[in-house]
Subunit: 452 residues, 2 copies
């Protein structure tokens, strides 16, 4: 607490309507609130401020909602390069005919550029933390450091790479955990149970336990993968994760559309360290049948967070969009319009997405002691008015461009729609030039086969 | 054609990438195109322009996509007043506990204000034509005239109003058809088969035939209504519309989620004059089970268009959002990721939505002879880049704020995000003040009971 009148905070946000809670599916807002930040942490959150705050930088957020920065619990950031490169195709064609052959072309500089474009897009739509699962991750880490965002990074590997894939994933995790003043955390990142052997999964789990990190991987992405796993080896992907110790180590599981009722019971045993990421836009686009069983997972205490997956499948990295589509689809699946209230939708966006990354209490909430990851949303547009229901406006009306200001660790990354850490013109110029070459498939090679 | 070198066009749009066709599910774009407008009509569309056009106003659309203005085939525009007033409730509670009691408070001035707010929101997200179904419609018509938008307007009635409801609906349609230089067209607007008697439906159909107008109404909105109709009177809502002559007169049917396979066969007989409107965001929010059977309707030649319904259920009036959610949900329903391509999604937005309103060839396409209803979309944002697939970018990436310019009948209504026909501050000030009173339910009255 900044109680001495002489001590100046680093940043004060005044006159905002602050989202201060989402418990029991109800969003609580504090109008006219003041938020103080010092050393990257929220040091004061005052719903009834008296007098002007003493701070080196003051943002007047009159007419704005202050809420915790959004969290993208699973993406492949550098895949912005492949946005729109494989539209209207089946998931197997998407992998085998387009994306994996194209990724042969993706070099280190591309990962830096693609990740920085993703960072710019996420800053612009209010995402302050993302979990990234890709390759050439030293370059991705550099882009995170340069952009000012927070990220949990994992260097992906297939067993087709031999032991080397696993080793570099572990080495990356050791090297970068805690970097960028703690904004970067890491994980061990096997691709999936259908591309990584049980031995490598077990070794990944061991490394994760040793380093105190999670395993981030794809599993039970859609029901066909689950059926295929049961047919070929007599175990669901979730059962494989338990057998190999991945669940025991702690895991971020993308995407779980193929999680069966018996799998939920397994996951419940590891609910303090395992979470599931959900990004329905891409799932529906791929015509996946059942969606992630969110109601069952939540009933079992397993946290579910929002994600976008990569831009090559989801087109956007917009968690507001994920939240909106999740809310309406979950209502329909539950056959209950009163389910998945706006408050609950915001709870998944905040503390629950944080929990998936093992960061509950640090991000996803505006509270004293949490990291100062804050976004300011302008709700004065015609499309939000009148404000009969503020939570409803955020879930169902707000547009990405209504996010005016994005702050991470108390540092302003976007002020009134102006990016402060990224040179838009220079980045886009280099990115566009390189994008022309990156979809070339004349080399006839691929990085992997999709045959789950 | 403006072929004389001395004749100046009213407006020229130069250097745009024009969406010039969507046949067979493929979007065709003409880069570097020039579009000339005279007398509110597109007089030239040149994919290979030579020299500078001769026009009184020239818009340089370098880096922009020019596409036909979007069409909202069913809304209740003035319900912007009730945006967020009834969230997370069942459809029967939405009507009986919230909306219909609140609508007791909605007066003539409210309908003017609410419709103008809706018009502003639609101009801002690229909607140039909307079909409106509400009451105090003289005021809605005035808002359309003032805003510069194009609209098809129907004055809603219930049989609980006696014959007077029907009579005023017909009188409104006669009075306003062709007003605002032809931008306003009209229809006869019974509320629904479950609130209007067969006699009144038949009389509405007769009036529509006499005046050369359509009947615009709710029918088979969700499967429960269909079941209830079959149980209580032995006919589906679509069968009732055939028996009463509504289909023969020509109809705009909202929302058709409860259309059965046998109903599709009936509708097919009237496909030259009957269309169905589709707005999945609100349907999912209400947890409606099956969605509008778009594939079956299209296979039968019945046009399906996009709508938002009112802001009280859908929160937004954003047809880009409707299109996106329609595309992903239709892929999943069809269990086929290759179905509902981006080109097809754009075809529904353009010529098919126009056909639902009986305006095919006049709006929804950029072609010589069509009305000059054009929007310019900036695709340079990070969230759209790179442009490997332009149609995919429009369907899956573009944000409402990317619509920079909105033009109706060759008149610019929004230029580079600045509204030119609506005074934002004055309108919002009056609207917000009135919105505080409009949700009052202490009077204990309602305009109608929902018991389909």
């Amino acid at each position: 607490m900044n109680s001495s009148p002489d001590a100046a905070a680093d940043l004060a946000i005044v006159n905002c309507t602050a989202l201060v809670g989402t418990s029991s599916g109800r969003a609580q807002f504090a109008p006219g609130a003041t938020l103080l930040v010092e050393g990257g942490v929220i040091t004061e959150l005052d719903a009834n401020p008296s007098g002007s705050p003493h701070a080196r930088e003051v943002i007047d957020a009159q007419g704005m909602v202050a809420m915790p920065g959004l969290i993208n619990t699973h993406t492949h950031a550098a895949m912005t390069f492949l946005r729109g490169a494989a539209e209207d195709v089946t998931v197997s064609s998407w992998f085998n005919d387009y994306i994996w052959p194209m990724e042969v072309n993706v070099g280190e500089r591309d990962v830096y550029l693609g990740t920085l474009v993703a960072a710019a897009e996420m800053i612009e739509c209010g995402v302050t933390t993302f979990a990234d699962h890709y390759f050439h991750m030293h370059q991705a880490a550099q882009a995170v450091a340069d952009s000012g965002l927070r990220a949990n990074l994992g260097s992906a590997f297939f067993s087709s790479q031999g032991d080397e894939g696993l080793h570099q994933s572990v080495a990356f995790a050791e090297r970068w955990n805690g970097a960028a003043n703690g904004r970067i955390t890491t994980c061990i990142a096997p691709h999936a149970p259908y591309t990584v052997t049980d031995e490598h999964l077990a070794a990944a789990a061991d490394a994760a336990r040793r380093l105190g990190l999670k395993v981030h991987l794809h599993a039970a992405e859609e029901i066909g993968q689950t059926r295929s796993s049961v047919a070929s080896r007599g175990a669901t992907p979730i059962e494989v994760l338990e057998l190999t110790g991945v669940l025991d180590a702690g895991a971020i599981i993308a995407h779980g559309n193929g999680i069966l009722p018996d799998d939920v019971a397994i996951l419940a045993r590891y609910r303090d360290r395992v979470g599931v990421t959900h990004g329905p836009k891409g799932y529906l686009k791929f015509a996946f049948g059942p969606l992630t069983p969110i109601a069952a997972l939540r009933a079992a205490g397993v946290p579910v967070g929002y994600c976008t997956d990569g831009a090559a499948s989801n087109n956007t990295l917009d968690i507001l969009e994920t939240m909106r589509i999740a809310a309406i689809t979950q209502k329909q699946i539950a056959d209950d319009a009163t389910y998945f209230t706006s408050g609950m939708a915001l709870q998944l966006a905040g503390p629950d997405s944080a929990a998936v990354l093992g960061m509950r209490g640090q991000i996803g909430e505006l509270r004293v002691g949490a990291r100062a990851d804050v976004i300011l949303i302008d709700t004065s547009g015609f499309h939000c008015q009148p404000l009969h229901d503020l939570a409803g406006a955020i879930v169902y009306s707000v547009q990405p461009s209504d996010v005016r200001t994005t702050i991470v660790d108390g540092k302003v990354l976007m002020r009134d729609r102006q990016l402060l850490t990224i040179d838009r013109a220079a980045l886009l110029a280099e990115f566009r030039l390189r994008a022309r070459e990156i979809t070339d498939r004349t080399h006839g090679r691929t990085i992997q086969d999709y045959a789950p």
